[in-house]
């Protein structure tokens, strides 16, 4: 009969909670930089410069059709051969940014293309300034259209970030692995970790839902 032992988990809960905070910080940082990469990628894709478009296409396709685990191995172990050395934490962040940037590029592009040209012309006809047009006619509706995809992408990124524990970068999954190496209460530790990730995902999706209700509930154009 298996003897459950949650003692080591509860004795080290502060360490796991700190790990959860590191995961939140890593995910948010990766999302911010990832969005910058996404906007650049989307602008390059919708621009008329063909070689630039091909480059972005190759980037997006390669990242979306290879596992994140292999990407992180390539960045952390493979790149030093080309003279690029990084600490585990930097490699983890870089890998996550590159990964979310590829998915984000497609999302942002869809957002840009979702604004009808006629609406911008209508704004000009009403005598709105370019700043007002960008803010009220382009930015806000585009953001509203892609908001659900962006938020679910963030939660997906947070769950994926657990993989950075394989190169011992600092996050929740690594905190669990350290605890496991010291106490061997494997099943109990990973059960608690799974619950913690679930609560993180639930918390963020609740928060994003609240933000959506505050900012994006006005009559839809469709």
């Amino acid at each position: 009969m298996y003897q459950f032992n949650f003692q080591p988990v509860f004795e080290n809960l502060d360490m796991l909670l700190y790990g959860a905070w590191l995961t939140i910080r890593l995910s948010l940082t990766a999302m911010v930089f990832g969005l910058i990469v996404s906007v650049l990628g989307a602008v390059a894709k919708t621009s008329g410069i063909r070689p630039l478009r091909w480059l972005v296409d190759i980037y997006v396709e390669v990242i979306r059709n290879t596992p994140f685990l292999v990407q992180i191995f390539f960045i952390f172990f493979g790149l030093p051969a080309a003279g690029i050395n990084m600490s585990p934490n930097t490699a983890a962040l870089v890998a996550l940014v590159i990964n979310v940037g590829a998915y984000g590029t497609e999302i942002i592009r869809a957002g840009i293309e979702s604004i009808p040209q006629g609406q911008i012309e209508a704004g000009k006809a009403l005598g709105l300034s370019p700043v007002q047009i960008f803010r009220h006619i382009v930015m806000k509706p585009a953001l509203r259209n892609i908001y659900p995809s962006l938020t679910s992408q963030f939660i997906y990124l947070m769950l994926t970030s657990s993989v950075v524990s394989v190169i011992s970068a600092n996050d929740l999954a690594s905190a669990g692995a350290d605890l496991n190496a010291r106490t061997f209460a494997s099943f109990e530790i990973y059960l608690v970790l799974t619950v913690m990730y679930f609560l993180l995902a639930l918390g963020f999706s609740t928060l994003f839902g609240a933000i959506r209700r505050v900012f994006f509930t006005y009559p839809a154009s469709r």
Binding site: Y2, F73, V163, L202
Partner: protein
């Protein structure tokens, strides 16, 4: 003893890709059965069934696949089974696929116009026949594109089985890397192998999706 990265190593990596495919196939077939059960429960008349299916989907979509793998792997000992990486990976990925396919297929079932179900009921077809001859065949056409898309996610997901010690494509790369110490070449080759497996499926999913959209908007 460090040796050169040679054609033999490439053959070893290609051979290990077989296990990636086998694991993906097991998870997909198991996930298809589980997914159908989840999708039917999710769109059933009974509240309790709907609740259970919703909870199942939420848990598996709201936690990392890596944690799911670890839980099943260490959970084998809890239920008194021998610890076996292939078994753990197959069970975890099957559950994972059941949740995702269940959610995809629920959407497809609900997209079938309710008039179809009403007409079938008016013809006094039983639930079983209604599903089998009227609803599911139509839902299947809608489901095929996102299902192929998920298959790409699943193949990529099998790489995590390397962490619990199952020798598939990614772990074969790690083994070769430890012997040759050519990480740039080795992981580049591994990434290329995944790309060869996944990219055609991605293209197929996209093509099916645009064909479907044209069919709907006609």
């Amino acid at each position: 003893m460090i040796r050169e990265f040679s054609s033999g190593d490439i053959m070893f990596i290609i051979g290990a890709a077989r296990w990636t495919l086998i694991l993906s196939a097991i998870a997909f077939l198991g996930g298809a059965v589980g997914g159908l059960i989840v999708a039917l429960s999710r769109s059933s008349q009974q509240k309790l069934l709907r609740r259970i299916a919703t909870g199942f989907i939420q848990v598996f979509q709201g936690t990392p696949l890596l944690m799911q793998l670890f839980l099943v792997y260490f959970g084998l000992a809890v239920v008194g089974l021998p610890i076996n990486p292939l078994l753990a990976a197959a069970v975890a990925l099957t559950l994972h696929a059941s949740a995702y396919l269940g959610e995809i297929w629920r959407g497809s079932i609900e997209a079938v116009p309710s008039g179809q179900t009403e007409a079938a009921t008016a013809l006094s077809l039983s639930y079983r026949n209604r599903m089998r001859y009227v609803v599911l065949p139509q839902a299947m056409r809608l489901a095929i594109a996102p299902t192929v898309g998920f298959l790409v996610q699943l193949i990529k997901g099998t790489s995590l089985a390397s962490i619990i010690g199952f020798t598939e494509l990614t772990r074969a790369g790690q083994i070769i890397n430890n012997a040759t110490f050519e990480p740039f070449l080795v992981f580049g080759t591994v990434a290329a192998m995944y790309f060869v497996l996944c990219w055609p499926l991605s293209l197929l999913a996209r093509r099916l999706e645009s064909r479907m959209r044209r069919a709907i908007t006609r």
